[in-house]
């Protein structure tokens, strides 16, 4: 069965600092990979996705993620964090073919200090 691990429950950074949120997956083949953000009181918003091709994926709000097959990882990065980035971040994987139903990680809560 596929699984997604986000090892950090909380991450605290200062505004303007760089950010990396970790995501590792366990799956038989390379799945589709997603990062979602959930702001307080809001739904899940898609930040970026990896289907194929360039392993460095650019998303909205200045985020990027890099797929590393050898490490089964899809870490999310941002060079300079803004206070409005404080939110819950979810990594998700979905199988290629079939239903594409995603499996979500437990989420990482990002706290931004001024």
């Amino acid at each position: 069965a596929q699984s997604v691990t986000q090892p950090d429950i909380h991450i605290t950074v200062s505004e303007g600092a760089s950010l990396e949120l970790r995501c590792n997956y366990s799956y038989g083949a390379t799945p589709y990979l997603f990062w979602y953000v959930q702001s307080p009181g809001q739904g899940l918003q898609l930040l970026l996705k990896y289907f194929s091709g360039d392993t460095l994926v650019q998303g909205i709000k200045g985020f990027e993620a890099e797929f590393k097959r050898s490490q089964s990882s899809f870490n999310l990065r941002k060079p300079s964090v803004h206070w409005s980035d404080a939110a819950e971040y979810f990594c998700a994987v979905a199988p290629r073919g079939g239903s594409y139903i995603p499996t979500f990680g437990r989420g990482t809560s990002l706290i931004v200090h001024p």
Binding site: Y32, G43, F51, S99, T103, G107
Partner: protein, 117 residues
């Protein structure tokens, strides 16, 4: 930008009561989903719906749950007799038809927070 909407945003109900959660998916989308997120836990898949029938469901989606697309715009989740453990945030999502094996992206609504007392 089109978005998925859900009503109500919050609902409080007594154990054993029926609740209906409503969703309006993005208008040209054909696949619809319900997920739930118990406080502090993962987002979990409940059910997917296509062409007026359930295409996939998880083991969470037992006989207490049902889904319906009563008209051309709404997609509903009904819980017949709520239990305390049904308290969660329920998310609706929709996606375009699958195309060429390129995968699909699901767009999520803001959620309905259900509290069962």
């Amino acid at each position: 930008e089109p978005e998925v909407t859900q009503t109500p945003s919050h609902q409080v109900t007594q154990m054993g009561q029926e609740v209906i959660l409503r969703c309006v998916p993005i208008s040209n989308h054909l696949y619809f989903y319900w997920y739930r997120q118990i406080l502090g836990q993962k987002v979990e898949f409940l059910v997917s719906f296509y062409n007026n029938e359930i295409s996939e469901k998880s083991e969470i989606f037992d006989d207490q749950f049902s889904v319906e697309r009563p008209d051309g715009s709404n997609f509903t989740l009904k819980i017949r007799s709520t239990k305390l453990e049904d308290s969660a945030m329920y998310f609706c999502a929709s996606s375009e038809a699958l195309s060429g094996g390129a995968g699909e992206t699901q767009y999520f609504g803001p959620g309905t927070r259900l509290l069962v007392l």
